[in-house]
């Protein structure tokens, strides 16, 4: 990207990216980092799916399998999904709020540059393990349950420090986002006139500041149990492994909404632009975001129904979990009402947004089944659960982000992307995603457990389908990369308002926007 910049001596080459405090540069780095992590985590799980293509052990031993599924989870959640959302926030928030830049530009630079070392730290033991050095990467599953996390090899220690750094990064980024949103809005833009995307990310940032330190504390306890003779989770010394589950899921459940809310904020903009109607039920959506944020921190133990829980506890966590579906349903109906009788057209962002709405709906409904404490004993840690949370997370953190990226790509690059190829990308991803995860509902209901490299013969056909689907899904991302590179390098010139139905301050800036977004703040009436 080359811009006419007001700076005389902007560093060039690598230094530009190392030293930058510009929200657009940092946003770009976040997005590229997230894409690299998406491919890394994707390659890992393709190896897993290749192993699961047939019953029996063909390609790898169980210890390697365990490392792959663990790293896949950690890399996707902390490396791909969260940085992708933060990248969108960096790019869009100043432009949507009418600010020149993020509130704390140097902090912004730091919060990004903690990420690559953290990712290296996580993956290094895996590569060393392949080379025959050490015990390999963390292999406990991304939930890092004690006592296994206390007994396993030193890949766990690397993972602990990596989680510390990833946590620090996302806390810093969240502080920056909250300060930007609360202090840097254009004159006249009250909180209730703020774009939905800002609301979604404000809620996410609030959650992150509360939950990431708790996880950091939890993994520190694991570290102390491993090396310093404490017994937080060690029953022999009076500790309790179930305490870890509480700490982990106190972070882990809100984390789901951390991933969802920025997308739930971005999607209304896309739907509204391509239905050529204003966002329906703005206030209802904002209040629903509040309700989801609050409820998300008081329902964590529905992940632990089978860990031994009193009937009272099960009832509370079951009903409070099901309660979350009410504000989520409000969001869904508002999204559908935004489309209702709109003059719809189906460009790639719209396709991805609709894909998100439908597929995430399935993820939500199957979540209600899992939230039922009586039924959960059957589904818990079966493939049904795997299918459920991939239906919740893939449409959100990949399809939702793709919708946002295609929507704003003309703004970022100044060029229109290849619409035809982008549509192909959507349909390949849509088919691949459903082919991968739909069969997993069935094998899960039939009793196939997750995290096991082998399975009974009767699951063979569905697993084969699932593996083929995952390959198709993987290829879809290569189409995406091609479209983006093509768009960055050239293409039809994008107007300031790249989509005729789009509204918001970001569309009043040129495409691509100037290096500093708004030197003079616009006034919102």
């Amino acid at each position: 990207m080359s811009h006419d910049t007001p700076h005389d001596a902007l560093p060039t080459g690598m230094k530009r990216w190392l030293y930058t405090t510009n929200h657009k540069d940092i946003g770009t780095m976040y997005l590229v980092f997230a894409l690299i992590m998406l491919l890394t985590g994707g390659a890992m799980i393709l190896a897993v799916r290749a192993e699961l293509f047939q019953p029996g052990l063909q390609l790898m031993q169980p210890d390697l399998f365990n490392q792959l599924i663990t790293l896949h989870g950690l890399v996707m959640v902390f490396g791909a999904a969260m940085p992708a959302a933060t990248g969108l926030a960096n790019w869009m928030l100043p432009m949507m709020l009418g600010a020149p830049d993020m509130a704390l530009p140097r902090l912004n630079n730091w919060s990004f540059w903690i990420l690559p070392p953290a990712a290296l730290l996580l993956v290094t033991p895996f590569i060393l393990g392949l080379a025959g050095v050490g015990t390999g990467a963390v292999d406990t599953g991304w939930t890092m349950y004690a006592p296994l996390s206390i007994q396993t090899g030193w890949g766990m220690d690397f993972a602990i420090f990596s989680v510390h750094m990833l946590g620090a990064s996302s806390i810093l980024a969240s502080i920056n986002v909250i300060v930007t949103i609360l202090n840097m809005r254009a004159p006249g833009m009250t909180l209730m006139k703020m774009p939905m995307f800002a609301w979604g990310f404000l809620m996410t940032a609030t959650l992150l500041i509360i939950i990431m330190p708790v996880l950091a504390g939890g993994v520190t306890m694991v570290l102390m149990d491993r090396h310093f003779g404490t017994h937080f989770f060690n029953a022999a010394g009076g500790g309790d492994p179930v305490l870890w589950e509480h700490i982990f899921w106190f972070m882990g459940h809100p984390e789901v909404y951390v991933l969802l809310l920025p997308i739930a904020g971005a999607i209304p903009h896309v739907l509204s632009a391509f239905a050529r109607k204003p966002i329906y039920g703005y206030k209802a959506q904002v209040y629903s975001l509040w309700a989801i944020t609050f409820l998300s921190v008081v329902v964590w133990a529905h992940h632990m129904f089978t860990s031994g829980m009193s009937v009272g506890g099960q009832l509370y966590f079951m009903y409070s979990t099901m309660l979350i579906s009410l504000p989520l349903a409000v969001l869904f109906f508002c999204w559908i009402a935004t489309l209702w009788r709109g003059a719809m057209s189906f460009e790639a962002p719209m396709l991805f947004a609709l894909g998100f709405v439908t597929l995430f709906g399935w993820g939500g409904l199957t979540g209600l089944v899992l939230a039922d404490a009586a039924a959960d004993a059957q589904y818990h840690n079966a493939y049904f659960l795997v299918a459920h949370f991939h239906y919740a997370l893939y449409p959100t953190t990949v399809m939702g982000v793709m919708a946002a990226v295609y929507f704003w790509l003309p703004k970022w690059t100044g060029h229109m992307y290849n619409e035809r190829l982008a549509k192909v990308h959507f349909w390949v991803a849509f088919v691949g995603m459903n082919l991968t995860f739909l069969p997993q509902f069935f094998v899960g209901l039939a009793g196939m457990p997750r995290r096991i490299p082998d399975y009974a013969l009767q699951f063979a056909e569905f697993n084969m389908l699932s593996s083929v689907g995952s390959l198709i899904l993987g290829v879809s991302h290569l189409i995406f990369i091609y479209v983006v590179i093509q768009c960055v390098r050239g293409g039809a010139k994008a107007e300031s308002r790249a989509w005729e139905g789009a509204n918001g301050l970001e569309w009043t800036l040129s495409s691509p926007p100037p290096y500093h977004s708004f030197d003079v703040q616009p006034v919102v009436r």
């Binding site: 300060v179 708790v214 029953a235 305490l243 009193s310």
Partner: protein, 181 residues
Amino acid sequence: MSEPATPLAVANRRLAYKLGGVAVLALGFGFALAPLYDVFCQLTGINGKVEQFNLPPSQMKVDRSRSVQVRFLSQPMPGMPIEFHPSQSSLSIHPGDIILARYWVRNPTDTPLAGNAVPSISPGAANAYFKKIDCFCFREQTLAPGEERELAVTFWVDSALPKSITDITLSYAFYGAVKKS
């Protein structure tokens, strides 16, 4: 930045510090969860963590109208190469009665072994009604090479035990003693 800070920059910094403070508080809350969890389990009696002496109140009546089957399980944990068995697989008792049950343990190795037995009651709902007066699990057990020993647990079951619970399982996991650091 070398230019004088604008009011906005000052306000930004102040809010950032406050939010950083929230993050530090949250970190403290994470660590506080460990003792809070124990307190919560003590207060509610769930999780089988209540391990103090529990003498039955003098007015406690023995409920002879029903009996409860108590089953005994034993589990030497990895790293603790002992032989460890209950002397009786189950007992039929009346709620309110004081019962003595025995376990048997032997150290077949030629090194001394020390360890702790950690009890667990199921179903979880029975835990609040299962009271131990004395138990070998209250103390660390040290076994000389080749030594065998009988271990005793004295307990009673509160007669307020819900009628729906007819079976209680008492299980001990025998762990090696933790290193003193």
